[in-house]
């Protein structure tokens, strides 16, 4: 007797302790950071969760059939529910962004644990209000069902229990270009009309062979020849044209999507080609990556690590290195002209060349060595070389800097010979070239290649002329 009573008491304490702990965890969730060993406990959640599901259902079943419930069963159910909830909480902390599902699952789970504990206490205190008890049982059944269902969806995918249909494919790491990319584009834009049920214009786009076969207007795709392919031709027609696809009123394809189709056809329209078969810098590969990860600008995440000590050591009185923002290894560097110029501080930056995103070398008497160093700064996005000793010969060394977005080369000797290099900067959006030797011809060439590039050639003549016009209207009006 003695033994049993003290055991029961201890069990109550355990339940009280676990319960308090659980509530605490949820209230202070945002402040909690798990040590790895505790996080590891969370990994047991998928195992232990089976106990409360089965046992709780059994318990409810027993009590509904008015069977005597043994105290020990009640105890095990409550403790296992609490442990499952806590371990689930630990596991949940591991995911940085809790999705909708996880949040639902979490709150249902904690409710389940709380209700079970309440039931346990009511039972302990011999509380026999029938209405309340059956209410609790119904709530519990409901909670078990939904918690379990959402939990299952988290582990097995949202559509695991859905009735099988044509599910949207997630693009895998190394996609087969036809199956995962091209078909996807067609599926989103074309297949609603070109399917076995509708088959507009006699064209079926649901599978590879049918796509190649074409429709009433002939072959839709001519491998290696996008210009002649009906599919591409129609994408490029003006939107008012009746033959433009998709027809007016439907969302047209994005430029990037069109580019992918074109490039894929240019490379032979193969259904076996994979992304990794391509060279990294081919247009198709770039476009596909753009489609998979539209926010490619967050490449700062993958820069090599730089310590504050390194930054500190490379800083000089005339060269300032700063992180672009707290927590990033992306660096912004400004150089100023010292009384006596010495290239060493710049050349010393070589170990962190890949981390340099913004670099201001304006007004410096730069020489060959500095430009050779500059060529290694492959992640540069903003480069200022204005008022420096930049020449076409030096500039040609920078061809590899494909990530440059904004480039300032005004007041330098750069000329039309550098247009090709400028054209090779795929990501260039802003270019400042006033007071250079680049003339109209060069500009024209540049505009053909890069129609959307913002080019600033300085303040226009018209503005200067307008400065001379006196504003008489005011002075006349004045008393």
């Amino acid at each position: 007797m003695v033994k049993f009573a003290s055991k029961k008491r201890w069990a109550d304490y355990i339940i009280l302790g676990l319960f308090t702990f659980l509530i605490f965890c949820f209230v202070f969730e945002n402040y909690i950071q798990l040590p790895s060993i505790v996080a590891w406990l969370g990994r047991w959640h998928p195992l232990v969760l089976h106990f409360p599901i089965v046992l709780l259902l059994l318990l409810i079943f027993l009590s509904l059939t008015k069977k005597r419930i043994s105290h020990i069963l009640f105890l095990i159910v409550t403790i296992s529910t609490l442990i499952t909830a806590i371990s689930g909480f630990f596991l949940g902390l591991e995911s940085p962004n809790k999705g909708d599902l996880l949040i639902k699952h979490q709150w249902l789970g904690i409710s389940l644990a709380i209700v079970t504990t309440i039931w346990y206490w009511l039972h302990q205190y011999k509380f026999y209000n029938k209405l309340v008890l059956s209410g609790i049982k119904i709530i519990l059944l409901f909670l078990i069902g939904f918690t379990g269902h959402f939990g299952g969806m988290i582990t097995h995918g949202e559509n695991f229990l859905a009735i099988p249909t044509n599910t949207e494919n997630k693009i895998p790491e190394n996609p087969i270009i036809y199956r995962d990319i091209v078909h996807n584009i067609l599926d989103n834009n074309c297949i609603s009309c070109h399917n076995p049920n509708k088959k507009k214009g006699g064209l079926l786009m649901t599978n590879f062979n049918a796509l190649l076969k074409g429709g009433e207007s002939g072959k839709s795709i001519i491998p290696n020849n996008p210009e002649q392919s009906e599919l591409i031709k129609r994408l490029h027609l003006p939107i008012e044209n009746e033959k433009h696809m998709p027809p007016e009123g439907k969302t047209p394809l994005t430029n990037n999507e069109i580019k992918i189709l074109e490039q894929w056809i240019l490379l032979g329209a193969l259904d076996t080609l994979k992304l990794n078969d391509l060279d990294e810098n081919t247009p198709l590969s770039i476009s596909i990556k753009k489609m998979i990860r539209p926010e490619a600008s967050n490449t700062w995440e993958s820069l090599p690590k730089v310590t504050d000590k390194t930054i500190e050591a490379l800083n000089t009185d005339y060269l300032t290195i700063k992180r672009i923002a707290n927590g990033y290894d992306a660096l912004s560097i400004n150089c100023y002209l010292p009384p006596e110029y010495n290239p060493k501080p710049i050349l010393d930056l070589l170990p962190i060349a890949k981390n340099i995103i913004e670099l201001d070398l304006s007004g410096l008497p730069l020489e060959r060595n500095e430009f050779e160093f500059l060529a290694t700064c492959e992640n540069l996005e903003h480069l200022e070389l204005d008022n420096s000793t930049l020449t076409d010969a030096y500039f040609s060394k920078l061809k590899r800097l494909s990530k440059i977005k904004s480039l300032k080369v005004y007041s330098t000797k750069i000329s039309d010979k550098s247009i090709d290099v400028l054209n090779s900067f795929e990501n260039l959006t802003h270019l400042y070239i006033y007071n250079t030797e680049i003339d109209e011809n060069g500009l024209k060439k540049l505009k053909v290649e890069k129609p959307s590039l913002f080019i600033n050639k300085g303040i226009s003549e018209a503005i200067y002329k307008s400065l001379e016009l006196e504003n008489d209207s005011i002075s006349k009006k004045l008393p």
Partner: protein, 486 residues
Amino acid sequence: MKDKNKKAESPLKINRRHFFSQLSVGIGSLALGSLLIPDLFKSDADTLGGLPLGIPHFAPKAKRVIYLFQSGAPSQLESFDYKPTLRKRMGEDLPDSIRQGQRLTGMTSGQKNFPLMPSFVDFKQYGNSGAYISDFFPHIAKIADDICIIRSMNTEAINHDPAITFLQTGSQQSGRPSMGSWMSYGLGNENKNLPSFVVLTSRGKGNSQGLYSKLWSSGFLDSKHQGVLMRSGKDPVLYLNDPDGLSRSDKRHLLDHVSSLNKLHHVETGDDEIESRIAQYEMAYRMQMSVPDVMDIKKEPESIIKLYGEDCQVPGTYAANALQARRLAENGVRFIQLYHQGWDQHGRLPTHMASQAKDVDQASAALVMDLKQRGMLEDTLVIWGGEFGRTNYCQGNFDPNNFGRDHHPRAFSIWMAGGGIKPGITYGETDEFGYNIIKDPVHVHDFHATIMHCLGLNHEKLTYKYQGRRFRLTDVAGNLVNDILT
């Protein structure tokens, strides 16, 4: 026996022993849980709660600010807030339904009536955005598509000193750090040879109000963040030059020795201000080399002189300061604050405002265009505006050709350009009398929060603990004006 007693007890009747044992379990599990919270019992770092100083909190759009402060409060009704209704109802008394009990200054509170006074000059629409700009500002009109006009600024103060202090420091009472000092504190120097916060002043012919160094004081922040006033003329920074006969190497020796003595004293007292002083001596030493170079506008080509106007060759003018501001910005100064005095038009508004506008119009526009052609408008935020607005009714005699306007805190217009601000838009709206804001108000705190955001700073995170409380530029207010951010 004991157990039998226990069984007889009602479970709801908790005795002291039960209470304590259960309490200990409860507290024990709370304690266990609290072990999962790192740094629970560590006090916050004194400054930023873990965020390091000198680095933006997130990737910034703007790296520096040029604030063209129009001291004295230019009339919004003669600049950017077009109100044709005032012409229609000219001379009518300001309806009480519009005034809504607004307090007045002592200068007009005695007036028997408040006759509505329309703009002295006409407005036209400019640029693709069709922004309304008055004929006083024909040059700013040319950059209409580069600027964002905010017509819904509002402040709490009604007199110059508190209002300008409020705009500069986020508080009407003096003693807080100036905006530029906060930026210097949060972002640090870009160029170690120049101060990060520089002030340039100029004065027009209009009625002006005082400027005092408290406006660019660093308040309780380290004194190295204080704004450095650069004067016009031979000595831009006072006492920067060495006396005759002192060579640069002598100076170096002197500084090294003084600094070693100062360090000894610092070890004794632990006063951080000593370290700032050492740093400032070093800064001054380097500024001896850098300042003359930066301030020398002789190297500027003729086209630039033409752009800013001939005045820019006359030291001490607004135009000269605007050009100087660009040179300082190029050389990595974080916050360049210009003040142009003389906008306090209580009387003779037409003539005085015309002359004030003439002082600043061309150079302000030139600055924006010049920054743009250098690609610096991408990462430089330019702000133009005063400390409050002016009344829509006339002060003194009702004479459409020679009238004045009193102070009006409820609505005024400013413009911003570059660094993270949408170009070519007009934001906010006042009622048809130009008296109350009816859409998208921007309070001074919101203005500060937005500027800080452009610079990559979270206005709620940049704090400084002083006298037991953490201070911010925006104190306990401030909402980002998201609609004007790019």
